[in-house]
C-alpha cells in the first residue's frame, strides 16, 4: 500500500496517535451505501468491532446496549432524530463514556453548526467526502487526545473541579503545542465550577494574543457569572454585530437582557436566533416563555409549537412545553383545540408524573376558560395530587407552574404565596428572579415586583449573615436553630440548606455531638444535590460529611 510511504518515516513521531484496531465503532447513517462505505474504511484500517445503525433511534438503542469507543454519526439522518439530537441524548444520558470520540459527519462546511451548538459539541466534524487515510489519521489523533485528557474529564465527571483544574494547570505549564485547546477547556471548567474570576483571567489572556469568537463568548459568560450584566451585554452584542449568524451569542445576549429586566429586547433577540436555526428546541422554549411574560401570545404559540415539532425526538422534550402550547392555543383559538394538544401530550409522555402534573394543571385552566368549573376543579385536584408526589420541597419549577395555574383560576392569594416562596427559594438566581418578576407583573399580581423581590432578598441575606455571625461567635446552638428553621421555610434555598448543613457539621466536629444530626445533614445536602449538583460548597461539605460518617 504505497499511499502511506510519504509520511511513514514520521508515523507515530509527530503527533500522539492511538491504535484503531482494538476499538469499538458505531456508524450511523440513513444511507446504506454510505454506511457500508464507512464500515469498509474502518475494516481496512484494521478495526473489527463495528456496529451500524440506520437512524437515530437505532443508534441510541445500540448505545444503550454497549459503550463504544468511537461514534461516527451523520448529521442528516432523514426523519427522526438528527445527528445533533443523537449527540445530545447520548451525552445527556451518559450513554457514551468520557473516552468516547464522537465525530459528526456533515455534507458541507460546518462552521455554522459549531457556532449554533448550544450545549454539546462533537469532538470533531468531518466533511464528506473523506477518504480512508484521512479518517484513519483523524481518529488516531482524536483517540490519543481523549486518552491524554481522560484524567481531567474523569475529575470533571466527579465534579471535582479543583482536581481537574490542578491537572490542567500542570499540562498548561509545560506549554504544549495544543495550549490553545487546553485554555479553552480550562475556561469551560472554571465556568462550570463557578470560578468566574479565574475564568475571566483565562479569557483575558487568550484575547490579549488574538481576538477569537469562542474566547470572547467565554469572557461574556464569565462576566455574566460575575453578575456584571451591563458589561456582559456589550460583549455579546459586539459578537452578534461581528457575525450575525453566531446564534450561541444570541442566546447569551438574551439571558443577559433578562437579568437586566429588558424582557422585550430578550424576546427580539431570541426571535432572530430562532429564525436562523429553528431546530434548537431549548431556545424555542425560552422564546415561548419570554413571549408569554411579554403578553405576546402569537409569538408564544409559534415558539411552543416549533418546540413541540422539532423536539419530538429530542432528549430535551419537556411536558411544560406541551402544557404551555395547549394553554396558548386555547387562548388564541378555542378551548377544544387546547384540549387536543393535551391529548397528544398524554400519548407522548406515558406514565410520567411530571407530565401528568403539567397536563392536569393546564386542563384545569382550559376547562375554566370554557366555563366548566366542575371539570376544572377535578383537574386541579389531580394536579395537586401529582404536585405532592413530585416532592414540592425541591424544585421551584412546579410551584411556579402551580402559581400560574392559581392565577388563571382566579385565586391570586394562593398564587402570590407560591410566587413569594419561589423568590425566597431562589434569592441568588438573578435570571429566575427577573423572570418571576416579569411573570407576576404580566399576570397582574404585582405592580412593582422588583422592589418586592429586593425586599425578600435583603431579608434572606440578613438572616444568613446573622446565622454565620452566631456560628463565628461560637453560639452554634443558636446558629443551628436559626438555619434549620430557615431551611424548614425555604426548603428549596441552596444557601440556607448549605449553611444548615455546615453549622451542624461544625457542631459534630467540635463537640462530638452526633445526636440525631447525621440524618439532618444528609437531608440538607441531598436537597442541594438535587438543585445544583455542580455546587462546589456542596462538594466540600459532602467530603467532610463522608469523613465523619466514615469514622
Amino acid at each position: 500500500m504505497p499511499a502511506r510511504t510519504w509520511f511513514s518515516e514520521r508515523w507515530g513521531v509527530k503527533f500522539k496517535r492511538s491504535n484503531l484496531e482494538s476499538k469499538s465503532y458505531l456508524v450511523v447513517d440513513d444511507f446504506g451505501d454510505m454506511r457500508s462505505l464507512i464500515k469498509n474504511m474502518l475494516l481496512s484500517c484494521g478495526a473489527g468491532d463495528i456496529v451500524a445503525a440506520m437512524n437515530g433511534a437505532q443508534a441510541i438503542k445500540a448505545m444503550e446496549r454497549k459503550r463504544f469507543d468511537v461514534v461516527l454519526c451523520d448529521y442528516n439522518l432523514g426523519s427522526g432524530k438528527d445527528g445533533q439530537q443523537v449527540l445530545e441524548e447520548a451525552r445527556h444520558r451518559q450513554l457514551i463514556g468520557l473516552g468516547t470520540v464522537f465525530v459528526m459527519i456533515t455534507a458541507e462546511n460546518t462552521r455554522e453548526m459549531v457556532m449554533g451548538a448550544v450545549e454539546y459539541e462533537p469532538d470533531s466534524y468531518l466533511t464528506k467526502p473523506f477518504n480512508k487515510e484521512l479518517l484513519r489519521s483523524r481518529l488516531e489523533k482524536l483517540l490519543a487526545k481523549k486518552q491524554d485528557l481522560l484524567p481531567i474529564e474523569k475529575a470533571v465527571e466527579n465534579r471535582d473541579f479543583t482536581l481537574a483544574l490542578e491537572l490542567l494547570n500542570q499540562k498548561i505549564a509545560e506549554s504544549p503545542p495544543n495550549i490553545g485547546e487546553l485554555n479553552k477547556l480550562k475556561g469551560e471548567i472554571c465556568l462550570q465550577a463557578g470560578e468566574v474570576e479565574e475564568a475571566l483571567v483565562v479569557y483575558d489572556k487568550v484575547l490579549a494574543v488574538r481576538e477569537m469568537p469562542w474566547a470572547r463568548l467565554g469572557l461574556g459568560k464569565a462576566l455574566f457569572g460575575a453578575k456584571r450584566y451591563a458589561e456582559a451585554r456589550v460583549v455579546f452584542q459586539d459578537l452578534v454585530n461581528a457575525n450575525d449568524r453566531y446564534t450561541a451569542a444570541y442566546d447569551w445576549l438574551a439571558k443577559t437582557c433578562k437579568c437586566l429586566n429588558q424582557h422585550q429586547d430578550a424576546q427580539d433577540i431570541l426571535q432572530k436566533a430562532a429564525k436562523l436555526s429553528p431546530r434548537v428546541i431549548t431556545r424555542q422554549q425560552a422564546l415561548g416563555e419570554l413571549a408569554l411574560s411579554n403578553n405576546d401570545v402569537n409569538t408564544a404559540e409559534a415558539a411552543f409549537s416549533n418546540a413541540v415539532k422539532f423536539g419530538k425526538h429530542s432528549v430535551y422534550k419537556h411536558p411544560s412545553v406541551y402544557a404551555n402550547l395547549a394553554k396558548v392555543v386555547a387562548e388564541n383559538k378555542t378551548g377544544g383545540e387546547g384540549l387536543k394538544v393535551l391529548k397528544d401530550m398524554q400519548r407522548e409522555f406515558a406514565d410520567d408524573s411530571e407530565a401528568e402534573f403539567y397536563n392536569a394543571a393546564a386542563e384545569s385552566v382550559i376547562q375554566r376558560s370554557m366555563g366548566d368549573s366542575e371539570k376544572s376543579e377535578q383537574a386541579l385536584e389531580r394536579a395537586l395530587e401529582e404536585y405532592q408526589k413530585l416532592g414540592k420541597d425541591v424544585s421551584s419549577e412546579y410551584s411556579i407552574e402551580l402559581a400560574k395555574t392559581y392565577t388563571k383560576l382566579g385565586d391570586p392569594d394562593k398564587a402570590t404565596e407560591l410566587f413569594h416562596q419561589a423568590v425566597r427559594n431562589n434569592h441568588s438566581d438573578e435570571e429566575l428572579l427577573s423572570e418571576l418578576g416579569a411573570t407576576m407583573q404580566s399576570l397582574g399580581l404585582q405592580e412593582d415586583p422588583s422592589s418586592l423581590i429586593s425586599e425578600i432578598r435583603k431579608e434572606i441575606i440578613r438572616l444568613n449573615n446573622k446565622g454565620v455571625e452566631l456560628a463565628r461567635e461560637g453560639k452554634l446552638k443558636e446558629s443551628i436553630s436559626l438555619f434549620e428553621e430557615a431551611a424548614e421555610g425555604m426548603s428549596g434555598n441552596k444557601v440556607v440548606n448549605l449553611n444548615a448543613a455546615r453549622v451542624l457539621l461544625m457542631d459534630i466536629e467540635q463537640n462530638n455531638n452526633y445526636a440525631g444530626k447525621i440524618n439532618r445533614v444528609r437531608v440538607y445536602l441531598d436537597r442541594v444535590k438535587a438543585l445544583d449538583p455542580d455546587n462546589q460548597t456542596l462538594r466540600k461539605l459532602n467530603a467532610k460529611f463522608q469523613e465523619i460518617v466514615g469514622t
Binding site: K14, N109, R111, P129, K132, R210
Partner: protein
C-alpha cells in the same frame, strides 16, 4: 425562497452525489489489482471528480460571501495537523498523476485562521497545481513579518507574465476575470481578504521560481 437559495441547495445535492462518486472510485481502485487499460483511466475520473467537488465548494463559498452570510471564524489551528490532513486527502490523486505531493512547516507552528475556508483554498490550489506541475507539488507554511504564509509551489512552467502583471487587478477585484485559473485566484483572494487582524488584511501573491522552478501561489494571513 430566493432563486439563489434554490441554486445553493441544488449545489449541495450535487455535492452529495459527487461525494459518493469520489468514494466509490476510491473503493474500486483499492479493491482491484488489475493494471489493465481501463483501470488506468480511473485516476482521471478521480482527479476530475475531486476538482468538481472543489469547484462546488468554491461556488458555495462565493455565494455565501456574496450574500454576506460568511465571516472568517478565527480559531487557533495547529498548522502541521492541518496540512497533514490536506496532503492525506489529496495524496491518492497526486500519486495517480505521478506527482510527489508533500508539505513542510515547523512542527509547533500554530496559526489563527478559519480552518474550513482555508481548507477550501488549499485544496483548490492543489487541484490547479496538479494540472500544471511536472513532478512535484510542495506546500509550505511559515511566519513572515507577523503574517502566516501558506505557499503552494510546483515545478511546471510557472505563471505567465501577463498573470503576474495582472495580479494587482484581481487583488483589488477591479476587473472581471475569465477562465478557470483566474476564477480560482479570485476565490483565494476573497477568502484571504476575509481574514483580518486589527487593521491588517489577508492577501495573495503570485510568483515564479521560489524553491521550485515553477509557479508559487502564496496566501498571506494577518
Amino acid at each position: 425562497m430566493e432563486f439563489s437559495d434554490i441554486l445553493a441547495s441544488i449545489i449541495h445535492d450535487m455535492k452529495n452525489s459527487l461525494g459518493m462518486v469520489i468514494n466509490t472510485l476510491e473503493e474500486i481502485t483499492a479493491e482491484s489489482d488489475d493494471e489493465g487499460p481501463q483501470q488506468k483511466k480511473i485516476p482521471i475520473l478521480q482527479h476530475e471528480a475531486k476538482r468538481l467537488n472543489n469547484k462546488l465548494i468554491e461556488l458555495l463559498t462565493l455565494y455565501k460571501i456574496d450574500n454576506n452570510r460568511i465571516v472568517a471564524t478565527i480559531d487557533e489551528v495547529m498548522v502541521d495537523e492541518f496540512l497533514e490532513e490536506i496532503v492525506i486527502d489529496n495524496q491518492v490523486n497526486a500519486q495517480a498523476k505521478g506527482v510527489t505531493l508533500s508539505y513542510t512547516c515547523d512542527e509547533y507552528l500554530s496559526g489563527y485562521f478559519d480552518e474550513g475556508l482555508m481548507r477550501g483554498v488549499i485544496n483548490n490550489l492543489i487541484g490547479n497545481g496538479l494540472r500544471y506541475t511536472r513532478s512535484q507539488l510542495l506546500i509550505a507554511a511559515q511566519m513572515v513579518d507577523d503574517y502566516l504564509v501558506f505557499q503552494v509551489e510546483d515545478d511546471g512552467a510557472g505563471f505567465p507574465d501577463t498573470m503576474l502583471e495582472a495580479q494587482a487587478a484581481f487583488e483589488l477585484n477591479e476587473s472581471y476575470v475569465e477562465g478557470h485559473t483566474q476564477l480560482g485566484i479570485y476565490f483565494c483572494g476573497m477568502v484571504a481578504r476575509l481574514h483580518k487582524n486589527g487593521d491588517r488584511q489577508g492577501f495573495t501573491k503570485l510568483s515564479n521560481n521560489n524553491t521550485l522552478s515553477g509557479g508559487c501561489f502564496a496566501v498571506w494571513l494577518p
